[in-house]
């Protein structure tokens, strides 16, 4: 299966690239192999502007607000390209080209090439490339095995990518991953560095030893964002089974909370 179906791609083309129909026709005529030369030209030909705030957003699948016009053009042109070409384009590409190839993966069937390209993107130290691979779509959560996805989530935590942008990862939570996230928190705290705020919320989906205690602690943390994710983590645990102490602590927190977005999460 693919994250974007042909009908959706067609609609996106009509809505966002109608003014570049001639350029698309020209590039389609060159065939997918023509992109080995012209992929680099897509930002110039189609623009780097974002598709805009009104574009397709499905919280369980994909959010196209981070897509640029050239990303959409690449997705349209690469939807049926051979795997080998896609991998070659990624390897040969600069930052812009790699982002376009990664976003084009959403328009293709998920297969071994998807996994290999996502793993290659993970090895880059280029944050924009990593974000194009792991943020704003459920591609990584759908395509990668546990070990690769764990590595990806830990790198996202290291880079401070918002948990809300890692679509679908909560469905892949495992106690082993939760333990890694808690270790990472401990390591950061020992070094006096900021922790990844999403850690406890994600860990609450598959708690390991220590998650519940740390959530109880973070409900009273001085940083608004840590309290917010602790509240969300607590509610995830309570959705699974009743826990009197957690319920009581949430109630007490609600009485004292001042930050509007944390209050909203407290309900």
């Amino acid at each position: 299966m693919s994250l974007l179906c042909p009908t959706e791609l067609e609609k996106l083309e009509t809505a966002h690239l109608a003014d570049r129909r001639e350029a698309l026709t020209d590039l389609r005529a060159k065939g997918p192999a023509g992109l080995e030369v012209f992929l680099a030209a897509l930002p110039r030909r189609f623009g780097r502007e974002l598709l805009g705030p009104e574009v397709l957003q499905d919280p369980n699948r994909i959010d196209l607000r981070a897509w640029r016009r050239c990303d959409l053009a690449a997705a349209l042109l690469l939807a049926k390209a051979e795997d080998a070409l896609l991998e070659k384009l990624f390897q040969q590409g600069d930052t812009d080209e790699r982002q376009m190839v990664l976003r084009a993966l959403s328009a293709r069937m998920i297969d071994d090439a998807t996994r290999r390209i996502l793993e290659a993107a993970h090895r880059q130290n280029d944050e924009a490339v990593f974000r194009a691979a792991y943020a704003d779509s459920a591609l990584a959560a759908m395509a990668l095995d546990d070990e690769s996805l764990d590595r990806g989530i830990l790198k996202a935590a290291f880079l401070g990518i918002d948990l809300g942008r890692l679509i679908g990862v909560e469905n892949r939570a495992r106690p082993e991953l939760s333990a890694m996230l808690l270790d990472f928190m401990t390591e950061r705290e020992a070094a006096g560095r900021r922790i990844w705020p999403g850690s406890l919320e994600l860990a609450a989906h598959a708690p390991c030893v220590g998650v519940r205690s740390r959530i109880l602690g973070d409900l009273w943390h001085g940083e608004d964002l840590r309290r917010y994710h602790a509240v969300r983590g607590a509610r995830i645990i309570l959705g699974d089974h009743d826990d009197e102490e957690l319920r009581d602590q949430l109630r007490l927190r609600r009485e004292r909370e001042r930050a509007p977005f944390v209050l909203a999460a407290l309900g």
Binding site: V37, L39, P43, Q92, Q124, N125, D126
Partner: protein
């Protein structure tokens, strides 16, 4: 009028960060780095690929960290056009670099020893320039220069490329009239002891005017001076050239020649590059572990 310099020929790959600092302070806003040879022959195409990737990647980042826009030209240089270990293979990979965002031309191409192989690859690269709608930066021989200029021009004319898309570089007093008559742009490398000196350059400009004239440092890993363009500008001022005439030679002429078809523009290059010491390229920083907050803006 504030001095603004488009430095159209410098091999920053082989320069140090102090050069970038000094060039920015002297008014350089854009550097153009032509692909060239590395002082010793490369033995395989992989070395070219890594070098080309550096020109559009790390070197561009490094330059922008010091407030200077970086663009480049790509090509198989004439010296290595003679080397059968690499020439055909470089020609195969070249097209995919010609559409990259910071590539504004093909170069340095042209003739060095004036061999048949050099001519063959020079001609083939002119055809690539036509196909990708790019100008060419032509290296001319340092020996038998006048004949070399004439042959470079002859091949360019026969190829069908518009002459206003041809920049013949490393010119001197002997070649000015030939180039101006041809309709091509004329480049002069101001280089210590060899090529042109600032004093000779000013005399050429006094005699032939500023139209289609471009000056550069051609600084590289040899004894060369990345500030030779601003030094020539200082001499032009002393000689009575107006601000406008200076701007024509060091800004308008090179910008007009290289900025076409969305590959850079005066507006892009007048904007300050983002000066952010925390930025990295593929995780690497020019600071080498130094504290970004302690760096001067």
């Amino acid at each position: 009028m504030q001095l603004r310099i488009f430095e159209p020929h410098c091999h920053m790959f082989s320069r140090i960060t102090d050069d970038y600092v000094a060039m920015r302070a002297a008014g350089v806003r854009v550097v153009l780095e032509p692909a060239f040879w590395l002082g010793q022959p490369r033995t395989n195409v992989g070395s070219f690929i890594d070098y080309f990737d550096t020109l559009i990647g790390w070197e561009r980042h490094r330059s922008e960290q010091f407030g200077i826009h970086h663009v480049c030209t790509m090509g198989l240089n004439p010296r290595e056009a003679n080397d059968d270990r690499v020439n055909d293979a470089v020609m195969e990979v070249l097209p995919r670099y010609l559409e990259k965002g910071s590539v504004v031309g093909i170069g340095e191409i042209g003739l060095d020893d004036m061999t048949a192989r050099e001519e063959k690859f020079y001609e083939a690269q002119i055809q690539l320039a036509i196909a990708h709608d790019l100008p060419i930066l032509v290296h001319t021989p340092h020996r038998n220069k006048k004949q070399g200029f004439l042959r470079c021009l002859e091949i360019a004319k026969a190829s069908g490329i518009a002459m206003d898309r041809v920049l013949l570089d490393h010119g001197n007093e002997e070649t000015v009239r030939i180039t101006l008559d041809s309709g091509a742009m004329q480049g002069f490398s101001i280089y210590p002891n060899t090529k042109m000196s600032p004093e000779r350059m000013v005399k050429v400009l006094q005699e032939f005017g500023t139209e289609r004239m471009i000056i550069n440092s051609a600084c590289d890993w040899g004894v060369s001076d990345p500030l030779s363009v601003p030094k020539t500008v200082a001499l032009m001022r002393q000689a009575g050239f107006s601000d406008e005439a200076i701007d024509t030679v060091v800004w308008k002429n090179p910008v007009g020649f290289f900025a076409r078809n969305g590959r850079g523009s005066e507006e892009d290059w007048m904007a300050e590059p983002r000066l952010d010491w925390t930025e990295t390229f593929d995780g690497n920083s020019v600071l080498r572990g130094q504290d970004p907050s302690k760096m001067a803006k």
